[in-house]
């Protein structure tokens, strides 16, 4: 998926107007083009999924991540997760980032904060597409040249505006999800 598609409607330029470099984003439990496990959705435990990234450009100081569904929302995309102020050397996000502000961030991403998703919650909330439809979930990762230390609670538009001119690298992965009708008995 190209950066242009990821950032539909938002022009994000890097340092001195240069196009950002791309890097690899992966996950131990998800793959682009394959269905993600249901524990990352409200059909399961609704945990935030783990991500790993590598090959970020030199000079990366902080990282921001948006999880969004361009097949939902009026207008699209529907935002599932916003997290930023991630230390530049973090290498990824562990599974299960807390949704409660009283619970601290994992040590490896100390300082990270969450913005407001489509439901107005500063948390990850996973896919809940209509029964019978397959949706794509874009995890967009931005490498920033500065430790912007943005305030918590920004929505997607505010975040993109704030990182404008600071994006020196971008990576993404796009797993899928489809809801299953529930099993009649407890698991």
């Amino acid at each position: 998926m190209g950066a242009a598609l990821l950032l539909t409607g938002a022009a994000v330029t890097g340092l001195r107007g240069q196009a950002p470099t791309t890097f690899v984003v992966e996950s131990p439990t998800m793959t682009t083009g394959r269905f993600m496990p249901r524990d990352y959705s409200p059909d399961g435990r609704n945990l935030s999924p783990p991500l790993t990234w590598s090959g970020l450009p030199a000079g990366t100081r902080q990282v921001a991540v948006i999880s969004q569904d361009f097949g939902a929302g009026r207008p699209p995309p529907w935002v599932h997760w916003i997290i930023y102020n991630i230390p530049g050397d973090a290498g990824g996000l562990p599974e299960g980032i807390p949704f409660d502000p009283d619970h601290p961030m994992p040590a490896e991403i100390a300082g990270a904060v969450q913005g407001n998703n489509g439901w107005g919650l500063p948390a990850y909330r996973g896919p809940a597409p209509p029964l019978g439809s397959v949706h794509n979930y874009h995890f967009a990762v931005f490498a920033l040249d500065e430790a912007l230390d943005l305030p918590p609670g920004l929505d997607r538009g505010e975040l993109l505006l704030a990182i404008e001119g600071h994006v020196i690298g971008q990576g993404d992965m796009v797993p899928l999800y489809e809801r299953q009708p529930m099993n009649q008995f407890p698991r």
Binding site: P42, D43, R45, N46, F99, L131, P186, R187
Partner: protein, 238 residues
């Protein structure tokens, strides 16, 4: 065991069962409730309507009798949910201490079958959703998982799971939250806001029929003593 105001410490029923150990728990829990927790969800709907079952006192002197409109099992689930909405914590008493369950029970008695049915189907769906997505009955989940479940119920994400939320999981959540807020922060006449714990949480200085300029100045100087009276304690209203 009771504090200076005569209340038991704020512990949840679930904690009570855990710390007491299986045998101890059985001693505290009447047979009807034990039987209820062993049922499978597919037979829950068949309705073991064992009203009037006595429940142990859990968070205070309030729940010494069963709710008139919900079964013991339904009451357990509702209690756990309400406990997460406004928990008892270091800041002070929460919804269970305030008598919100008693408030809701009175609402159901006055409102008739539609409201009671909405509670029953919603609580059953909540429990089914918990089992299917988080791997256990709602009352057995950790508080983190309970909160996660309730967030998904609130935002309507639990609706598509096919667990039986009538009209959407969000409307069930809003109904319970609305009643919980009224029970926590409304006039104690209705059975909630016990000992004015709800009004104290807000620092609401209480129901007065007249507020003089001196009272208002005292309020603005943080010096106005709260009045702890129900509107109906004034003896002039019907």
């Amino acid at each position: 065991m009771t504090d200076s105001k005569g209340r038991l410490p704020a512990i949840s029923r679930r904690d009570l069962l855990r710390t007491a150990g299986a045998a101890g728990a059985a001693a505290l829990v009447p047979d009807a409730v034990t039987a209820a927790t062993e049922e499978t969800p597919s037979t829950a709907a068949a309705g073991e309507r064992q009203l009037g079952t006595a429940l142990p006192s859990e968070t205070g002197p309030l729940l010494t009798r069963a709710l008139a409109n919900l079964t013991a099992r339904e009451t357990e689930i509702l209690s756990a949910m309400v406990d997460r909405l406004i928990p008892s914590d270091e800041l002070g008493p929460g919804a269970l201490d305030a008598g919100v369950l008693r408030f809701i029970d009175r609402v159901l008695s006055e409102s008739g079958t539609n409201a009671a049915d909405a509670y029953r189907s919603g609580l059953a769906a909540l429990d089914t959703y918990s089992r299917y997505t988080r791997g256990g009955p709602f009352i057995d989940l950790s508080t983190v998982d309970q909160d996660s479940v309730l967030i998904d119920v609130q935002i309507g994400a639990a609706t598509g799971a096919g667990v039986g939320f009538v009209g959407g999981s969000g409307s069930f959540f809003n109904m319970v939250k609305s009643h919980t807020w009224q029970g926590m922060f409304g006039d104690p006449e209705y059975g909630g806001n016990v000992n004015f714990v709800g009004w104290d949480l807000l620092d609401y200085p209480g129901v007065r029929l007249g507020v003089s300029p001196e009272d208002q100045r005292a309020l603005e100087a943080d010096q106005l003593e709260p009045v702890r009276r129900s509107a109906y304690d004034y003896g002039i209203f019907e």
